[in-house]
């Protein structure tokens, strides 16, 4: 074996899929879904191809902020089990490349969204990328246990951008869709932090579980879940709500609050004994909770022509 082949064998040169992984495709799928929901429930029709392109550019913008996040957080990602195989900590893609891809795609997605839809939506997308990459990743994530609360705003913008693509502005409906995801994020992530115990503490990220203890985190989950319910139900009273949404939201919030109460009541020893079963269930249900709220909104909008729409 020559030296050259040895180097080739050791070289972790990235494949195309590694660059795709840099854009956090799983987060992207949530962005696509919520942005599409925001766009479809809006009262203004959009040309289907323009809508497709707008959603694509919103997704690419979200992916770009993911790449910027991986560039900045490579040191933390290396320590955490959940993230140590990401392309930058795994050594497949250099930090500089992730930064370049993130910046290039950010600029491209914002300009293309502006050209395809309108500059208000593009501005909102630019702000979202800035918020996630700079405010959350660079600033809050490592400095405050409220990182998840404020950082959650970045994930809450997509339906607002989708709405702006159609209407060119903001309204009470889009603000409430924002609020729904914004308030949902803390209980969702804190439940994850409860059973991914050591990951965040090893990485030195000030998660609530690390700074205020697990008891306080359980209480926080309950409080945020209770605050979330009126916001989720409030959407039912707006122009995009209706009986279908109200019924779905009542059931989902009832189940979510029940789960949060269970988490709040549990002692740490009991949780350890069954390997955080309740917390894991709550985390999984939180995904369905958000998904089904938007499905209900879409159903409400889709059934409107058949007389089953809003109030």
């Amino acid at each position: 074996m020559t030296d050259a082949t040895t180097i080739l064998d050791q070289s972790p040169e990235a494949g195309f899929g590694d660059y795709v992984a840099l854009l956090k495709p799983r987060v992207m799928s949530l962005v696509v879904f919520t942005a599409l929901a925001g766009l479809l429930v809006a009262p203004v029709a959009v040309h289907p191809f323009v809508a497709f392109c707008a959603i694509l550019f919103i997704a690419i913008g979200g992916g770009a902020s993911g790449a910027l996040n991986m560039w900045w957080d490579a040191d933390i990602d290396q320590v955490m089990n959940r993230t140590k195989n990401r392309p930058v900590p795994a050594g497949k893609i250099s930090g500089g490349e992730a930064l370049a891809l993130g910046l290039a795609l950010s600029g491209m997605s914002v300009i293309m969204l502006g050209l395809a839809a309108n500059w208000f939506a593009a501005g909102l997308l630019a702000f979202t990328i800035f918020f996630y990459a700079v405010v959350y990743t660079m600033w809050l994530k490592r400095s405050t246990p409220q990182n998840i609360v404020i950082g959650g705003a970045a994930g809450a913008f997509p339906p607002m951008i989708g709405w702006a693509v159609a209407t060119g502005g903001v309204s009470v409906e889009s603000v409430l869709m924002f609020a729904l995801i914004f308030m949902w994020t803390p209980p969702h992530f804190w439940a994850l932090a409860l059973f991914m115990k050591d990951d965040y503490s090893n990485a030195g990220v000030p998660m609530l579980t690390v700074t205020h203890g697990r008891r306080a985190t359980r209480a926080h989950i309950l409080v945020y879940t209770l605050l979330l319910a009126p916001l989720a139900l409030g959407i039912a009273a707006t122009s995009i709500g209706g009986p279908i949404y109200l019924a779905a939201s009542l059931v989902l919030n009832g189940l979510f609050i029940r789960g949060a109460i269970r988490i709040w009541r549990r002692e740490e020893t009991a949780a350890e004994a069954d390997a955080y079963l309740t917390e894991k269930k709550f985390f999984r249900f939180s995904l369905s909770y958000l998904f089904l709220h938007f499905v209900a909104l879409l159903a409400q909008a889709g059934l409107a022509p058949y007389g089953l729409g809003g109030w």
Binding site: L8, A14, G15, Y19, H47, V50, C53, L56
Partner: protein
């Protein structure tokens, strides 16, 4: 003279180039499609041919 067999790295590089190529082609198709959607959805579009015509003159207010 025989070609040297491709290393796994070359395959990966080929895949990457192919992927990027497809992304660029898709982008061109996207911009083309957007142009069509925008132009055909824009209502009546008249080219300017450097001569006055009735549709260019603002209607006199009553």
């Amino acid at each position: 003279m025989a070609f040297r067999p491709d290393h796994e790295l070359h395959k990966r590089r080929f895949g990457r180039n192919m992927g990027l190529g497809l992304v660029l082609v898709a982008f061109v198709a996207l911009v083309f499609g957007l142009t069509i959607a925008k132009v055909s959805g824009g209502g009546k579009i008249e080219a300017f041919d450097h001569t006055a015509r009735p549709s260019l003159i603002p209607e006199a207010e009553e």
